[in-house]
């Protein structure tokens, strides 16, 4: 399983840093890789702190596309910090192949981006290393015009899928049944044929 977390500006302003990253997830280009603890901390504070308003009507894949094309739709009437998020699952399970990914995405408006930065500067909300990372990347949060962060888990066999499954309940944005809960039965594999427990092999 690989996990990839990334950050992109919704509407970058003068002063937004130029990066040479060219990573696209589901055809959306991102500007910056995020260390997983930073991504977790930001997503957690958005959904649990109470400082941010969730805009439910954009918490769908078409809603996220709309925000990307028109970031201003996420501005609330009183310009308060707001966010929207959703998750996407793509999976192919057949024959001996199990391949897929779970992609969490969340977008915040400009006020929310500044609020995240303010919380880091004030301290006490995030862990200290998260505060330091955000402050070190102030220009990204100050001039992004709102941002989108992605958290993607990719798997390419049934064991990795089971690992991803362990993350789903912890991170689900939408209250719905775990889409990976029904893990299909294991196929006959090399380790079965030679009767060796791979976890014990070096």
């Amino acid at each position: 399983m690989i996990r990839y977390d990334a950050f992109r500006a919704l509407k970058s302003d003068v002063g937004y840093p130029l990066t040479l990253f060219n990573v696209s997830l589901s055809e959306v280009k991102f500007d910056l890789p995020l260390p997983p603890p930073i991504c977790d901390a930001i997503m957690d504070v958005l959904s649990r702190s109470g400082n941010f308003e969730r805009v439910d009507k954009f918490c769908t894949l078409p809603g996220m596309s709309k925000i990307r094309s028109e970031p201003k739709v996420l501005q609330t009437a009183n310009l308060s910090p707001a966010y929207a998020g959703c998750d996407v699952l793509e999976d192919i399970t057949g024959d001996d192949l199990v391949i897929g990914y779970v992609h969490y995405m969340v977008a915040v408006n400009e006020s929310a981006a500044r609020e995240v930065l303010r919380l880091a500067i004030e301290g006490g909300t995030f862990q200290k290393e998260v505060d330091v990372w955000i402050i070190n990347h102030t220009a990204y949060f100050s001039y992004c015009g709102g941002f989108e962060i992605a958290r993607m888990f990719c798997y390419s066999d049934v064991d990795e899928k089971a690992n991803v499954n362990g993350f789903i309940d912890r991170f689900a944005f939408n209250e719905k049944p775990n889409p990976l809960a029904d893990i299909p039965g294991r196929k006959l594999r090399f380790r079965d044929m030679v009767n060796v427990d791979a976890k014990g092999a070096s």
Binding site: L20, N136, M152
Partner: protein, 190 residues
Amino acid sequence: MIRFHLFRALNPTERYPVSPIDLSFSGVRYDLTLPPRVGIAFARLLSPEGYFRRLDNYCHPNGFEILRTIPYSFQPERTFAGYAESESHVESTEQGVPVGYILQQVATNAEAAKQILLSIIQGPSLPFDVVDWLFGHAPFIDYCGGFEIAHICCYSSAEERETALDAAAGALDDAEPNLYHPHVTHLSTN
């Protein structure tokens, strides 16, 4: 620091599996994410010793562009198990904070892909979990018509940069010295 390993076919046949993964790096779309141990095992399998011939003409980023657009460039060498490799280090600096990545690439022709599959079937000294994974994904190797693997280390701070450099070097611990020829690009945005 984020490190991952990606796989894509160079010249897939009709029986090559369909992958739902839509992950592109530097404008190149990949088909499969490799577990770290599998990614590193691939890097070490392709040693100039034994079956595989290193094709020096393609061992630079532009060579890989040629292989992607004209995968049959490897064709004159198809009776050989040929491969090429290259390393790029791309970095920008904003307010003293380095942001960048180290990209190590390996590409093989169809013959090398077949040899890898054959050597796995014949039982090389690979860890069982790696062999198990490769068995489970044999169609990707069998029908890829040659493949490309990207080993990527991304960083967005000075500390992560050091870790990324160590990780990139570590991938080559057991590999031939000077196996990769770095092409370093530095761009300052200050």
